[in-house]
Assembly symmetry: D3
Homo-oligomer: 329 residues x 6
């Protein structure tokens, strides 16, 4: 087994707040001996649990990176106990390019775990998390949003786990995070996810979707900041008690929650996220771009619930998700 | 002077609702004798004013196209008097590509008027509007939104015009449209705009910005649909009286309304559109992507007002607009 | 082993004619939760053999897709017994792009069997054929043509197989197909081919090359349609007897059948496909693009035979095939 | 007026056969002081008319370049009187790239006459023909084919001209050329064509379309070679009499000769070039790529005649020509 | 005439050292209301001549930008009299991209003077220099190098001018600059050059070529820094006397100084810059990439002189300059 | 295990000088049955050792290819004993494109050993060296230079090897080569290197870095030519004794020899290669491109030594090597 070539100038065992880089050598046409320099902060004070806090798993999701660059900077004067490891942009090449996936190898970070030490750039980063960072962590929070092509009501989520004690710890963390919505779901396609990697190691893992569209608002960033602060308090790293707001629990029980487009064109939404929807109600219309005067294709909800997530861009293609419906328990 | 090569299978003088195309021959590597087929609807019944209604002047703005494909389809059973010409996507190649500008020639339609009959594809389309469509119109409404890189509070706007009678007619049309916000501005850089072309012919011209981000919500589409319906009633083409909602008038008196980024990085907004802002208040912070632990650059408002428009994507570059502040009169 | 993520809304065991899709989730920058929707038709009536009929293994070959979209549509009113599975465009992303290989991953479908369930998009499709579709089939016909860069006399072909009974069944199917030319060849480089995968499972497998150039004529499409109709009759799925036309058998006994270019330039063919050629005869001349007045490079046949296949584009590169000579037995 | 920067090492007034280049300085990122070197041959012997023979006006049409590289090389030992100027690839950057238009500036040479001495690369070449080469010529033959996206029955064509004596001279040249088909047409859109530039100077101008698909066959190249040989004899430059074969005269009297696609998809032709077609007969079907089982769109001839030209690639888009019907007089 | 949209936050008439930007609004797909921010420094103290100092006319030439960023920063504590305007990277988009020409419009700045206020981005910048900056200047120095594709012995150059007094002033400035080599040349193709624009206004204009290859050495940067310091002293803006080193005068009397490649391949230079060369001596060999064992093409000097400039990359194309020979007077 | 598809028309066991190709079938959109034709020369006479001589391991390094095309051509008339195998451009697709890595698959040849017979194009080439060419060799010399993005003082290098006898043989070969500098280093990251593959087979392996910048000078090519001639004499294949010049031995003892950029911008070098440098001395300054008047970032040597290697382009990015310091023993 080859060794992962990533190195760092930080000492994970040293007390204090350190800002530095994960250095991944990357030989390419633009720099024969170049490197990818992934920002990282390690803050440690005495004993206590380790939190691994990440954003930019997909490079076009911004609430996580904003809250984490801000948190990293605030730690210097902060009272805390234990260790916080912050990587605000896991797929850093994707993040710098403003893209979901890496411009170097097309890698979707969240489908490439456990990674490979001698694989693509994205696989090398995943392997470093798998081999080096995840094993150090007690709590792992990975802050996602919808990215450029999806939009969601802001939620924190966990998975149904085989180990009920582990699931109870995750649920407690999710409740402490206190996003406006909370989701416990059965992951249908767990292969390659960071979530799966962390959960398989027995970590307390939570994730979020906090908006979307490739942008971030003051409102959604505030959810991320408060949620992370709550989690740090919940873990006992920050002093004080978490102060989660009200959170609406939602389920996505089966395939009926997902409406998929069978046509390509201009999409008109007939209701907005957060509105109630009933079975048979038209969610969206898709118009043929090439001619006026023809009937648009109507897409209807297959279930009663809350309009929870949608395709973001104005144009939609066959196979894209038209809408996701959440169901209050 | 060469002739514009655009032809159409529609008869602008005939009564009835016709759906067809503007056909622009376009010889390219993928089709030697190909053509660009721009959808157009002409609806005429008896005498009465002509309204020219357009969207997709920029190809990544969606409230206009959605409202206009819907309107074109609804006219068949509609009671009306006069003529309605609908081009839901002026820069059709840009619209099909989901881009602000044309993928063929990079043309920004709203900077290329009066166009050229033997110019680029975008200039030929502009010339066709200048020579053929605008002269037929009494009222012109061009529905814009912020597109993929800007976001605005939804407003309808007109320009200060030298001819006060023309300005009064435009103001009446804007008031009839009834967007949540209304803006009368002095265009600083009118060269090449469709607005300028229409105004110079003495037309009643209104424009809008109805959201942004390269997406559209049910809420913003409803503003477009209701505004167009109101305008058609105001012009006497549709029966009934316009029913505009309350509209807040805003000014952008001088350069202090515009805050420009002097750095490139990750942008955190400290308040959301629609919130009041005071002089000296921080609107946004810009973080260096390449390292944690450094101070972000703060951008402050130079004036008291309403936070009215912003950069949409999560990453910002030097020279991009951080925020636009509107000032109630 | 990870599971292949492709799902379908069709029921392969149900009687009737079903048109639907193979849905392959594909997360990319343009759609985070997007999917590739590969059209498929399944027609079943009672008991009988299963035919798996495919085109678009290479995305720029058109006789197969045309004949198969037409066949799929005609089955509704057709009298048949057994099962027909039609995938008119196996490498659907390549087919939509009009390219030999996938625009997503560059995958050449016919070099990636048996595929991988967690590989590239093209490998996932190959794996689905390997694991799901091929095992259901008794007869497999894969309709190829030369594509944008090759042109062939229209032939149906099979391979020399270790199992002589299997080869005899394939030869009977080829004879039933009844293309103008028939070829029994020894595949020199079988790794990764769909042919190899099907033959290794003991299926009756036939393939074709029915023209080329990235186009299709009424004549070559008629060969595909009649051949498929004949095959369906041969298998007893369609009623009636196959009516193959005369077919000329051809061999490609050794390396002398292949003439390779050793230069790059403009290629002039000295004879057309279907003409007899003798050893030492000049097939083509290659001119230097950069200057007039120099001697072109001449390429000669190394064998007596029939001019059977050629490079299609007007420009040729070193290593490209100048000509393929077939030898009547 | 700036001077055209093209220079040449050839002397147009000197007797003998000279092979050289038109040198067009071209400063670009790959070579600050680079140049485009366009091959040219000038052959002169004593007095007599000047023929300007060209190919590669569109870079993906090959009968002209092949016949002209061959002709240029054959002149050394040839008996002739007068002057022959050969530019086998007018749009040389397009020709080297195997594209209709220039990869440098996207220029379609045949839409950019009379060119500009300080314009784009393509405009500079056009200007050089306009200012330097065309004025020297008595006869001008520009050998076109359909290129990668069109296919034609092979014809030689001239335009209806205001000057009937000039038209008669062109008709005599066309008849001497002796292509299988001959067409006298009214150019609907003459702006920017090389044809128009030559005709406006009073030259005897003929053009061809000799096949297509971005390839050339021995048969179509033979038509080009024999036609040029005939023209040189007709002009008295080569000794002997032209020996044209039978040529079928065809008209394209009005818009009914052109059938345009109103949909995008996979195109199936129902008859081949050269077949008779009657009004109302289906020429082609266009299938939706995204699903099987739906009815294809049928395209029908609007006139009785001969199926004369068609779209070449297997995929077709809205606005593309489905078919061109020629009408025998 | 439209106005140039470039604005600046600097006051050219105010005493002091100001660092700021030329702001050019640039609406594109990545930022609808974006701008190009070109760095500029203006330093003024009392009365005295104005020097306009520029680099990055071509974006891949580095001695000028390095010397000018350094000079701009040093002016704060510097004793000077008069005005210095520094634009270290004229074609700023090209400079940021590390390319000779603009990535936005392909513009070669030094071929686009006098520019256009409503033209491309590059033309707008040229127009701003033409209309705003050049008129303010007494002395203009434009620091070039060979860029990525050329390499030169370091020289300062001026042109033969119709006005002998102006030429004498330029020669005095060139002599003060004191580069290792000095060249007085007749510009063969002056259209569109910044040089021509400045000279036509009667300015004292000098230019340089200080190395190449898209890199800069400490040695060549020192030549630029010392040369600019000398020029500022020569003009009386900096105190003290210029201290030019020895400079070798060179001529390029005619076309024989330029050896052009007639082939494409791998280039081997047989001597290095600065070596003496005699007529008939082989400068370089060009090898065919595609095969070993063939004779390379030899390129020979047509004149006695000094090997003065060459193609830099290891691969060369037809039309590229193999070598430039300078001739001592 | 699949077989490597590369074949050759050369016979490695036959006496004489043969020039030919390694033919690697490569099916792609531009040629369905195309091939990559890698030039190779094999010269054999009687018994004696085999030398495998390569260049173009990275495609933008030119001293190796120039010296080896020249050597291949010179062997015909040369007196020698044994066998010489020359592949002047290992990564031939990269070499033809003038890039470090392959334009087909992005492959960096020197990170892909031992290759894969059914992998990417680059991996297939590596596998052919691993399985076919390396086993035949006694001595292996791989001629590198810095390429487009690095520049080095010219050196020949070997690695510290576990087998001291093998290392002694390599050192003797390095001393015979006689480059101006010689380096014995401990390879920190040997995975995937050609060096490692050759050394693991017990071959005498030497490598070089002979300049850089993507260019070659007469001086550096002479070092390559003389070094190869010396090596051939040292091995006893060429008659005579090696005549190495003086060579300075250098070490790179630890991480202090490498200075890495932590910022992106315009780089000014404060000294040139070959100059002595002391600990704490500033090697280079990096300027912010976006504004004048700010302090550049200074990069200092961490050790006393010789300035030995540097980043070549004028722009530098975070993670790029600023400088490499060699330490005389």
């Amino acid at each position: 087994m080859r060794a992962n070539p990533i190195s760092t100038n930080l000492d994970f065992g040293r007390d204090g707040v350190q800002h530095g880089h994960l250095k991944l050598p990357h030989s390419h046409d633009g720099s024969a001996w170049g490197a990818i320099m992934i920002p990282i902060t390690v803050a440690k004070r005495g004993d206590g649990p380790t939190l691994l806090l990440t954003g930019g798993n997909h490079g076009d999701e911004y609430e996580g990176p904003i809250a984490l660059y801000a948190l990293a900077r605030s730690l210097e004067g902060q009272d805390f106990q234990g260790r916080v490891i912050i990587v605000p942009a896991m797929n850093f090449p994707a993040f710098k390019a403003g893209r979901r996936t890496s411009p170097i190898d097309g890698g979707n970070m969240n489908r490439l775990f456990p990674g490979k030490p001698d694989g693509t750039v994205t696989e090398k980063i995943a392997d470093y998390f798998q081999q080096q960072l995840l094993p150090m962590a007690d709590y792992v929070a990975d802050i996602h949003s919808g990215g450029k092509t999806l939009n969601f009501l802001p939620f924190c989520g966990i998975h149904h786990l085989a180990d009920s004690a582990q699931q109870a710890r995750a649920q407690a963390a999710m409740e402490a995070f206190g996003a406006p919505y909370s989701v416990i779901s059965l992951e249908m396609d767990p292969d390659g996810m960071y979530d799966t990697a962390a959960e398989a190691m027995g970590k307390v893992f939570i994730s979020t979707e906090l908006g979307g569209g490739g942008s971030a608002s003051a409102t959604t960033v505030a959810i991320a900041k408060r949620g992370l602060d709550n989690l740090l308090k919940h873990a006992g790293v920050f002093p004080g008690m978490p102060a989660p707001g009200d959170s609406q629990l939602l389920d996505m029980p089966d395939e009926r929650c997902f409406v998929t487009s069978e046509s390509s064109g201009l999409v008109e939404y007939c209701l907005d996220l957060g509105e109630a929807v009933s079975e048979g109600q038209t969610i969206a219309l898709v118009y043929d771009l090439d001619r006026t005067g023809t009937a648009p294709q109507a897409y209807k909800s297959q279930i009663d619930g809350l309009f929870f997530g949608r395709h973001f861009p104005g144009l939609i293609a066959i196979g894209d998700p038209v809408g996701i419906i959440g169901v209050p328990p």
